[in-house]
Symmetry: D3
Subunit: 324 residues, 6 copies
């Protein structure tokens, strides 16, 4: 992959105008308030797996619309007293996967709550999902999730996803083994976009680990990359032509730029300069708008794998320091 | 494309065992009965387009669950008295498209009702859709529609689609410009699979034009072709491994083989010998089970385009003779 | 597809220098005069197809060199007196296709003459051709038609094609059911390039519908797009290296920019901003040179499908107004 | 590439029925006789290139229809008295290329006449052609040469090519530096198919070097391989559907099986077992029909590159023995 | 991916002849004896990473030729007394990766020793390697490792790899925290092929977890799959043609079939029926030759991902029972 | 391929800063001095092949580390007294190939020494290699040769290759049939990069024929092209992330820019403007730094095939003039 986006010095300064609807905050307040009418109703079912160092719970709770959202909760068995918790969101098309994929944080002494992304993971070979999105949307869609309900912010798929994600923080915070004042949200790609949004919507979280975030700076993204999943939106626009204005209006309620501009917590971002899935300018645009304490790790030779395992080690150290 | 399926002489004799659930008929009776509790509520809105020979109606009706299904109704303006009508179903991922794409039957003196496939057409460049599938399904899914709700026959996407399609025949039959005793169902690929099902579920239709039908002989199809959309199912199975039995049980309620075995109307099939999307053995399997008067056009050098415009001319002659 | 060409505001102003040979007009006058020595010899054979609203003629006439060029002529059966006619040219590699593909204009009350592009359509699945190009050319060629005879303007393939196309207008104008003062030329891609040339060479036509035109601004096109068919020329140049000067000299007699600069009729263009087959700057270059009354529809999210069915509806309205 | 054709032991025995028209010999007698009405008119223009061991002539002659066919003639400068000559035919889409590509035979003491394939080589990067096929054909065609004029044996492209090739032998035999009794024909792929035909049509040639021959056992080839150039024929059939019978009738006059069955000269074949361009069964089918003395080199791990340079060394030894 | 190999019932019975050199056992005895002349010289450097439940050692030891081989050793911190250990080998092109990728077995109460494959992992995004193969080989090679030194069993790359792997078991067995009588070898694809070999060469290991093993039944594999890495061998054979006999002779010393026929330990295999990288017949061929207690998990809808996380859970249960 | 690099006028002026280590000359002096401790030990074995105009020797000599390097030496048989010699280096992944591929220079009266590139050619279909690189390198590597030993200049693969190449000049110069004062080095792509380096390291050579050179201006190359083999380096960097500084330090000892800046001999370069393997700016960067007499042939429409046979003819004329 050659370099195709702005050079690094320009990226560091790239802080574009945001397209923010006047009622952005009202929209999200209303959304979360409506969701709050459904009892969270968390269920933690002990999961039988021959692991010695963690207690594993097949977890579910009522997300947006009261729909059941599944996840895995892993708590370090050796813990004495409540532990910090990482709430982990998933990259596009994956699900909560397997318990044994999520042992890093528990091995470091933290709990982890891995949250399914509704409707996704049905074809993921490595991290299958287990959660439906019972809401099909009020318009036709392109395959995938990017355009489900995209003509109306209230109907848009990510309204439900972000709401589920916010409520997952509440699920974690409410568990007796977890210290609700030490929650970190985390994710890569779509998971990074979700974590970014949750950190803005629930400023009580103490940290945000945001890797190569997706769902950010939509307008530029759909113009400079030819790869999925941003191209799902282009395919929709290429078909449903009279809808462009409605589409971009909807997206403005979900654009990571607008969440980043509200971000107050400590954030550790990462970005890859050869990433043509989530181009680096879209990541820096958010990072440069972020309001809270922040760091960014730059991976000059990587595509969308971003920092991979190296970044995971950065995060272990970062969180260790945060809660050390 | 090389030949990859059985040789033609074996295809002509290929009539495999069917996997039919004991309550197949009961399932569909119940399904249609439940749907019938929703008033059909057809709406025919005159559509403003500078065409001289047809009256065009932007049409909608209450499909499965009462959801609004859109379509185009074109009636030959010069008609004196009720005319026959072709109810046209659409290939996978397309929608009702544009009025001017559907002038063939009206130019031949028949009305045509083009029926959206719910949820599809959101990314179709050439035949955009306009109809939502508000029902998201009770399980995660692979991108596309093939696995939406696939773990439960009651929840499966095509239960809604086939129900919509049956009701579209009622919409056509109920329009004053149409002779309800002279309805033909028609479609290619997914549209062919739908027409095949409708002809079995509404034996009052007078003819079925079934081109390279999809949704037929699932078990063999997923094993011999590596192409979409059958591969959507394989991707789901490769991820959601404990679900295979449930998946094939669900599919048995929707398999074209079981509808073909109930087909009593006159049918004109077509099949292409180099079709690796809907392999010829899956088509002949259905054709050889069909009970009613039948013909099949074999296109030896074609892939999934099947008979294309040549077949359309066959159909014009066939229908002309049927109603001549 | 990402955006790859100039931004829209620059496109609207893009009006490059043209490379026009001194004898451009003389070349075409001579070419058409030579062709005129062959009697037009149109033949209109009634075509048997069970359609009720149109009279269909399998049509042929003597094109360049007296070679027979085939087409379909469809005349609205209900017409009282001569009707306007759309002369329709075809996109690259297609042919006149099937009668039932051309019912739009007749359904709107106009005749349509669909004109084969000589030699093409031999492998088109959806619009097969029926016309030979008996002239093989005086040099070796790359597969396809772009480089047939490209070393000499007199021998170049498109000299024959454009001449056929001009004569097709005469065929239409000479038919008794058609009003020769109300001819519109139309086409997309290659068909758009042909329509653009014919409108310049036969200014008596009343309108030109030019969609995403090919054969326009060759020099820029071969440098900025890596896709066929412009790349056929690059492949020829990469092989036949000493021929570059001769190639570009030949192309200067056929470049849409030079025809556009002579265009006097009313023209409705369309362009797609993500079109990497006929890049938008090559289309705007022609449009900005066009001399007559003009409009252009811009499709921001589309590739070479351009405006598709949406644009067809634009054209129906445009022609309706033109002749209304 | 996996093995995909018959196993080797079955290949060695594979000798299928041939589809031979009753007037096969008459057709070729007439064809060559008609061509003979054009004077051969060979021209040998000394070519200026700083080579010391060969005399190089830019050569042309009147092929089918009197059309000029170009080639290179290289004669070993050190020769005393007439030398044997290899007449070399070219693989599909290539031309005579560069003088310095043809030094093998002259370095071995033989002359070589490299013969352009008319119309081809216009896009070949490594062996550009210099010869036109002025005859465009009496039907539309698919890109490439395989379907030019394919509806009529008299009009088919390879009628002209094979005739040119036969006459090239006469050109070589007539040159004073060449011993006309010691001519060998040679070629790979298309060139192999041509050499195979020439050896049958001009049994006076003393040897035939036939590598991975194309144009052989058409019926099987188009059914078992999905690759070009055989697929050009399938694309034509898929489009021009009513033409299948005419196509296969034409091909029966050009099928290598029918030439092989008339082959009387010494022949050295080669075949590659993983060749999915010219599948091994099509090669063995011809080899097993060949009547004259014959050997075949089997390359078990190769695709269409066949024996490459290894086979060239085999040929040097074979020809050395033939004329030793 | 369609099914392309034998049907399951035939696979279960597929037990082909093996191609075994007479001195197979002598070759390996000599090889291991020679290696044993190098002191094992294990080094366990504590690795600084903020994990709480494991002790991590950056490990190295002297492999074949005394070359340093790197790995990670993770020991459950809470263990009282020596624990069982899984020795983990890596899939093709990967390396030992990141510590946090290997927490499953430690979380289950076992140690894990992850062993680099020499020379590999230099381009792995997700599991980079850290170990060189200082031995370049005595012949040219195709890119990748499959053909390094392939002309001579003594020089072949996998001689070094398998030797390293056997010695890794000794490294594990010699660590004070590990119970040397409870070693399990494990790996998928290449790692599975290595584990299979080690289990045969060190029958003292108590179990073998062998997933979709590579390096097994070479002769059939190179003939029925067109995918890498088996195709590296075909590319070599296609180039280095006189070497085929030497190549297959070399491979006979490394073929998993010959190791499987010596396997005495408990083995848990897995196989995927749509695996076109390591086709199921090559896996069953080994499994059916395995001598010890054995089970195989069949994944009917999967390609080379095989059992993925599901199989990992099977292994947890299997090992739990083995040592329970 | 579209144009993607700088426009030609900017290319002609493009002369970037070079990244040159302070001990560049010392490094190479030391390297060549160390190599010189191994006796050259050339072996010229007459090769049996039925060619009449050349004497062919299967040649080998001791390259770097004393490793045997193979080649072909062809000497014109008719020569009286020592002749000039072209030392020919090979493009990436190829080897010395076949004798009969190298007849051009001998046919022009020069000897040619074709030099294998160690380790390469193991999978080349058209020019197999015959020489091993027994040195595997001190770090893991990506498949291919670009990153073998890349962490240390002393260990880097091309240190061995360039040393072999310099010594090949000495082998040629030392042969009695060759005039050691009239040596020309030559090559395309990798061969061009090698020739460029040798001309700088052995200024006694009289000419350098450098076509589309690889291994030049690494820093820019890896950023602007997405194609192999430069991408091998990017894949290594993307995996072995902490190594970037070491990688670029190593490459600075091998960068063609630094050799070009030392080039004193007559040089004939060639460059292709659509070359996305060795982008034109990297070629011009070297050419513009070259110190000696120089010419460059610009091929505007070509990709990495560059000038192909046309350039070979340029070279024949150029060398003819040089030694004429």
């Amino acid at each position: 992959m050659p370099l195709f986006d702005l050079p690094l010095d320009q990226l560091r300064a790239y802080r574009p105008e945001r397209d923010e609807p006047a009622d952005f905050d009202a929209f999200w307040s209303r959304t979360l308030a409506e969701a709050a009418e459904h009892d969270l109703a968390p269920v933690f079912t002990p999961h039988d797996i021959p692991l010695a160092t963690v207690d594993v719970y097949d977890t579910s709770f009522a997300g947006w619309g009261g729909h059941r959202i599944n996840g895995w909760l892993l708590v370090p068995r050796a813990a004495e007293g409540p532990v910090p918790c990482v709430v982990q969101y998933i990259g596009y098309s994956g699900g909560r996967g397997f318990v044994h994929d999520h042992l890093v944080w528990p091995s470091a002494g933290l709990a982890v709550l891995v949250v399914d992304t509704r409707g996704q993971g049905g074809h993921s070979l490595h991290s299958p999902g287990a959660t439906a999105d019972p809401h099909g949307g009020a318009s036709p869609q392109a395959p995938g999730m990017m355009t489900r309900g995209i003509l109306d912010p209230d109907d848009y798929y990510y309204r439900r996803v972000f709401t589920d994600a916010v409520r997952a923080v509440e699920v974690a915070a409410g568990h007796p083994a977890i210290d609700g004042d030490r929650i970190v949200v985390s994710g890569g790609s779509q998971g990074g976009g979700i974590a970014q949004a949750v950190a803005a919507l629930r400023p009580s979280v103490k940290g945000a680990l945001i890797d190569v975030p997706f769902l950010t700076h939509f307008r530029r993204a759909v113009e400079i990359t030819g790869r999925d999943p941003y191209q799902e939106i282009v395919r929709f626009l290429a078909s449903q032509r009279p809808s462009a204005e409605a589409v971009f209006r909807t997206l403005s309620y979900f654009d990571g730029l607008n969440f980043a501009a509200r971000g107050q917590t400590s954030a550790l971002y990462s970005v890859a300069l050869m990433d043509d899935v989530c181009p680096p300018s879209t990541v820096f645009a958010a990072y440069n708008h972020w309001q809270g304490p922040k760091e960014i790790t730059v991976w000059p030779w990587n595509n969308h794998e971003g920092g991979g395992g190296f970044q995971r080690e950065e995060q272990l150290r970062y969180v260790n320091k945060l809660f050390g």
